[in-house]
């Protein structure tokens, strides 16, 4: 793909780095203001996620609109308790999303199991199955917290660089990750 070769070529050209930075900024700006999450909620936090889309909090201000199909989504918000039976579908949905893709773990359950951490059927944190970019604490986090989480993700996106291979190929399979610096 052109995008993969483009940074290497530019870095060799004198003054190309400035051009590269500008391109980075432009591309990142596009990604930053166009984070489309999957309409996908697991439990209680999903209601707060719905509230964040709705009138008072209005996620659309940040350009965040839900997409029902993982193929058109950039972000997966794991909103709610992540149980073992759900692990396989979530992993599959994550792989169906096109790169660059991001994951927000919303709420204590998705972070570490939350109040259900000692249950026999709950995965203690979604980062045991898929990589996570932003963790939002709370049980459930308020919509403001979710919006703050998305803003943190925007900051992360602005640090992404074409040259490092960030954005195009992020192959982390689990754990927490920084999109700016690979896994």
């Amino acid at each position: 793909m052109i995008l993969d070769k483009y940074p290497a070529v530019l870095q060799a050209v004198p003054g190309g780095k400035i051009l590269l930075t500008t391109t980075d900024d432009f591309i990142n700006l596009g990604r930053k203001y166009s984070i489309w999450p999957l309409t996908f909620g697991l439990a209680c936090c999903a209601i707060e996620m719905m509230a964040a889309y709705a009138s008072r909090f209005d996620f659309d201000r940040l350009g965040v609109i839900p997409r029902p199909s993982p193929r058109q989504a950039d972000l997966m918000i794991i909103a709610g308790t992540f149980v073992k039976k759900m692990a396989a579908p979530v992993r599959e949905i994550y792989h169906q999303m096109p790169e660059p893709r991001f994951v927000i773990a919303m709420g204590s359950c998705a972070n570490c199991g939350g109040p259900f951490h000692d249950a026999y059927s709950v995965v203690k944190g979604v980062d045991k199955v898929i990589p996570v970019d932003v963790y939002i604490p709370g049980c459930p986090p308020r919509p403001e917290a979710l919006i703050y989480g998305v803003m943190e993700l925007q900051k992360k996106i602005m640090r992404m660089k074409l040259a490092k291979g960030g954005g195009a190929t992020l192959q982390a399979e689990k754990g927490s990750r920084d999109p700016a610096g690979g896994a």
Binding site: Y33, S34, R61, P68
Partner: protein, 397 residues
């Protein structure tokens, strides 16, 4: 304002807030600005004639000049469709947001999220393009193109102002309907090639729906064609020039009974043709995930979106030409305003109606949709043609 700091201020009358009025003014201003820009562009089109003359004087062969000229026009139409996609999506998001007591995009680009769709496009261009493992690779790649190409072609005879069109065709109406119907092949291809059952259902639904609604769409404008006596859009436009009693525009929508019914039927059929709510069953978000474009990502997917908005614009222009006098001014003393402005303004108004529908109505079920078409819309279209005949017989012209 409330004495206490209630977290949600409950306004009995939002118009009493200066902020609210200012916002509405701004939005109105933006719409007006767009119309104005289009007006300037329209005026610049006069230079097109000069360009053509210049090209012919260069001493190139006629064939080459023709080719260059066609390419220029094609570029204009594609540019228009893309610009319309960018504009309409932003406009729709803003309109829907304000209908739903939200704000819509606010941050992208600074002022009221004006750059929202541009940045969306940047992102979509750089998204990974996925072809599912179970997909038919060739058809999957071809489908968006097959969907959008007829849309571009159909724009050839569309009137953007008085006698301003990419091509002057005597059978313009027929031509547009013929090509607009081809896009469904792209949609069915998309549904079939995705290797996804939801897509398949969406594609099948689209095939049934679009083919069925072709009929009432075509028959609903027969009265207009009878009134104008021609299939040429320019002639239809001209037929509505002038005023009754010196002030009442002779637009076809004001022709008694037949005009209004025809408008209604054409509007409904156009909404169904463009797959928008309440007839958006091929992509029915709550049932079929995303319908025929479930498995499309990145730019392939946005081509489908572009097609949808392209057809919305096509339908808006057709509505303006057929029923609202095209480039004619609503009142005689407003005739100094160029026809492009009236045309664009009317088309934008019609586009607003499309958006309005989308955010107000629930969705019909597939069999109800068919029943509505075959048992209600189509018979009444025929009745309407008879009514138009009676009107003509009584010398309405």
């Amino acid at each position: 304002m409330m004495p206490r700091s209630w977290p949600t201020e409950v306004w009995k009358d939002p118009w009493s807030l200066p902020r609210y009025r200012a916002g509405a003014l701004w939005l109105g201003g933006i719409l007006f600005g767009i119309v104005l820009i289009s007006a300037v562009v329209g005026e610049l089109c006069v230079w097109g004639e000069k360009l053509f003359a210049f090209l012919s004087h260069l001493g190139l062969s006629v064939v080459v000049v023709d080719w260059i000229w066609v390419l220029v026009k094609l570029g204009c139409v594609i540019g228009l469709i893309v610009a319309n996609g960018l504009w309409a999506v932003w406009w729709e998001r803003k309109i829907s947001a304000h209908m739903q007591s939200r704000l819509g995009p606010m941050y992208a680009g600074g002022f009221h999220g004006w750059a929202q769709t541009i940045l969306d496009t940047v992102k979509l261009l750089l998204k990974e393009d996925i072809t599912p493992a179970s997909a038919d690779k060739v058809l999957h790649a071809l489908a968006p193109v097959v969907a959008i190409a007829p849309c571009v072609i159909a724009f050839a005879p569309v009137l953007f102002g008085k006698e301003l069109a990419a091509a002057k065709l005597d059978i313009g109406v027929l031509y547009i309907f013929a090509f607009a119907g081809i896009s469904v092949i792209g949609i069915v291809m998309a549904g079939w090639a995705s290797g996804n059952k939801y897509s398949l259902l969406g594609g099948l639904r689209a095939a049934a729906q679009i083919v069925s609604y072709e009929l009432p769409r075509g028959f609903s404008v027969v009265p207009i064609i009878m009134f104008a006596g021609s299939l040429d859009l320019a002639v239809i436009d001209q037929a509505q020039a002038g005023y009754w009693f010196g002030f009442f525009p002779r637009w076809f929508i004001f022709y008694p009974v037949a005009g209004q019914l025809s408008f209604l039927f054409f509007l409904i059929a156009s909404v169904a043709e463009t797959n928008r709510t309440p007839f958006d069953i091929p992509e029915a978000e709550s049932e079929l995930v995303a319908g025929f474009h479930t498995e499309f990502s990145g730019m392939k997917w946005s081509l489908f979106f572009l097609t949808e908005y392209g057809y919305v614009m096509l339908a808006s222009f057709l509505l303006a030409v057929f029923f609202f006098g095209g480039g004619a001014a609503p009142l005689p003393f407003l005739r100094f305003i160029p026809s492009w402005i009236w045309m664009m303004g009317k088309a934008m108004l019609m586009m607003f109606v499309f958006l309005w529908f989308r955010w107000t109505f629930p969705r019909l079920r597939v069999d109800q949709l068919m029943e509505f078409n075959w048992k209600f819309l189509l018979p009444w279209c025929f009745v309407n043609i008879a009514v138009a005949g009676l009107i003509l017989a009584w010398g309405m012209r």
